[in-house]
Structures are given as C-alpha cells and as structure tokens.
Amino acid sequence: MSGKHGHKPFEGHMHDYEAHIKAVEEDLEYYRAKRFEPRIFYLLRRGVVTFSDLLKARMALKRKNKFFKPRKPQGKNIEARVRYLEEWLDEYVKGIALVSAHAVESMDMVTEDNRKERGDYDDFFKLKKKEHHGTLERRMVNLEQDLKDYQELLEVFIQALINRGWSTRNELEQRWKQLHEERPWAGGVIVAKAWTDPEFKQALLTTGREALREMGVHQGKVGKLVVVENTDSVHNVIVCTLCSCYPYDILGDTPWWYKHESYRTKIVQNLRACVEEMFQLKIPASKEVQVYDSTSDVRYFVLPQRPAGTEGMSEEKLAKLVTVDSLIGAGYALEPSQQKESEKFGATPEAPRVRPD
C-alpha cells in the first residue's frame, strides 16, 4: 500500500512530497482531535474508563501486547520515509476503528455523541489541532514523533478497555485482522455501470443503495444514499459544512481536504472561486452549480458525466476514468487521453481504502 492518504486533487503520484506530508499532517490531527480523543473524553466523563485506568494500563502494557508493530522504513530516501509515515497513519486510523462505538458495543456511544464531544455545535469543546511549521525534514521528524505519541495513547486506551472488561484481546485481535483485509473500491465500478446501463442508472438515481444491492456491490449502511447526476446544464458538488459526512462505506477513506475547514466554509461563501482555486476546475457560466450539504442522515455522491471519446469502451476501462474528485464534484471524470498520460508517468491515483464496517 502507499499514498492512500496522500491523495490530492488531480494527483496521486509521489513527486510532490510536500503535498503528501501536508495530507498526513492534516489527517493525523483530524483523526486525533475529531475521532479519537473526543471519545476518550466522553468515556472519562461517564466513568467507563478513568484516568487511573489509563495510568495503570500504561504501566502494565507489554510490547508484545501492542496491536501496532512498527517496522523500519524501506530505505533512507525521502519517498520511502513518506510512505512509512503514510502507512503508520493508516495503522493509527485502523486502531481508532478498532475501538469505535460499534466495535465495542457495550460502550453505547453513537456518532452524534462524538460530534457533541468534539465541539461540532459548540466551539468550547473543540480540541486544538497542532500546527506544522519548518522545513520538510523538520516536519517529517515531528510527524514521526507525533505518530509515536498518539499511537502510544491509543494502545494504552485499548489496554484499559480490556482491563475493564469492555472487550477481550481475542475479540480485538480478530477485528484487527478484519481491518487489514483489502476491500475493492466500488466508486469506478458503480459509475461505469451507470454510464453503460440506463436501467441501472435510473435505479441508482432513484433508489440509491437498493440499486447497489442488485449489482452485488457492497452497499454500506451509513444513512440513506442519494446519487446526483451531472448534466450539460447542472454540475453538482458535495460538502458537509458541519463536519465531514461522506459515504465512506462505499467510497472509502475521505480525502483530507473534504474534512478541512477551508473547503467546508469556502464552498458556501464563494463556491466557484473555491472550486477553481482548490481544484483548478472552472465551471462554465452556462451551468448551474448545485451544492449538496450533507447532514449525516443522507450521504451523497455525484454521478459524473461520461467523458467524450469513450464510445464502445468496456465497463472495466471506463471505471479507470473515475476519480474520487469526480464523485464529489471537485473534478470531472478523466478523458482517456488524460488517463493514459497519468499512467505513463506512473501517476495513476490509487483507489481509496474501504474499511470493513
């Protein structure tokens, strides 16, 4: 695996190290301050775990009991080190999934509790995110330290849950294994089928998840799914201004910029300028742009327009033209020539990681 978190609009290659590091920094702080630490606060407040539990777990934590086994970077060059940080981040994200509400059922916590706890509705509760400065080298060294520190707290927290009897090591180890199973990315497959099969397209646009079941694609279960179609007169853009709602159960890991405050505020305040600035996408004045602001009960994605020059192409080939950006409205599906170009440079964006529920 590589570069899953390094995904940046129009770019999946490794040439721009700064962009990759920026993506890791943003994602790491997001997962710490939005997904993990608010959960600890929630459970601390209710005595599900206590500070003393954490201290005791820290003292008793043995190396062999840690879920994440760090390994050395595969080389000293910058590319290997960037990949190493990306892989580590990925393990951290999996670790958080390991102790998520539905994994440890008895903790009785729902997503909405986490939103309250992390200050989505009240700035008072917001956890400060760390800022990153200095040379690229400095930032990489800092990131490595942060990953180490954050991972440590996560391991201690897991140990405390086990000690308290909220879960067993066996259960967690099984889930940890599941979390490492690769799942195919359905985004391209769904869109390619909709481009070639009018009946399926109609079903997808009107029934959402139902249509996916017919197709045998993993249909997820995070809220209702609505698919909105781009046409010659309408371009759709998806955002979640309150947090970062996204059909991740179907489309995989959310791109970091989708969760970033700059995207979430600018897209409403100055839509066309935002899209042009962030994604170099100039939407023709003749098109109406429809922004969909997702609020958890409904998850949206865009059905992009089929690019020109793709007549007669197989579904398999068409699926390769579909980018994550095009499903959010931050880009168009690639034209065959663009796709060939990026393949030539080894710059094919990797599909995002889809994790088991």
Binding site: H102, E112, K224, V226, L271, E288, V291, Y292, S296, D297
Partner: protein, 79 residues
Amino acid sequence: MVAAENPTGNPRTPKYIRGKRGIVGLVHGVLENVRDHRGIHQPLYTVRFDLSEVSTCHDQDSIWVDVHEEWLSGVRPDS
C-alpha cells in the same frame, strides 16, 4: 421557511440557512440511523436555497440542505 432558532430541534441544521426561505426538493420521510444518533428524528426534507440567499455569491447557483420537519414552517405543496 426555516426557523431562526430551535433549541430542541436537530442541531445538524447549518446556521447559514436559519431564518431563510427555500424550496423543498426531496422528501425522505422518517429515516432510521441508529449508528448515528439515538431515537428517531422527524421527517427529513432536502431543501433548495438560492446560493445568493445564504452567501455573497450573486449567480444562478443553489445549495441543497437536509432539514428535519421541526425546523420548517409553511411547507406547501408545489403550485
């Protein structure tokens, strides 16, 4: 019309549409989403607002927001 405030309503109603007028685009009814929140919210609508109503943009673009029934008033069938 979206209420300007509604302390007991679903907090997931963005501030920028509060007190604004929009057009109901999609009717979802009551959705169950047990992983996300406890209990069941009132019926959900996707409401269309002119972007110029909610931001400084002055063009033909629109924003569609999911709003639960308790935030809405004066919902009428399309004439």
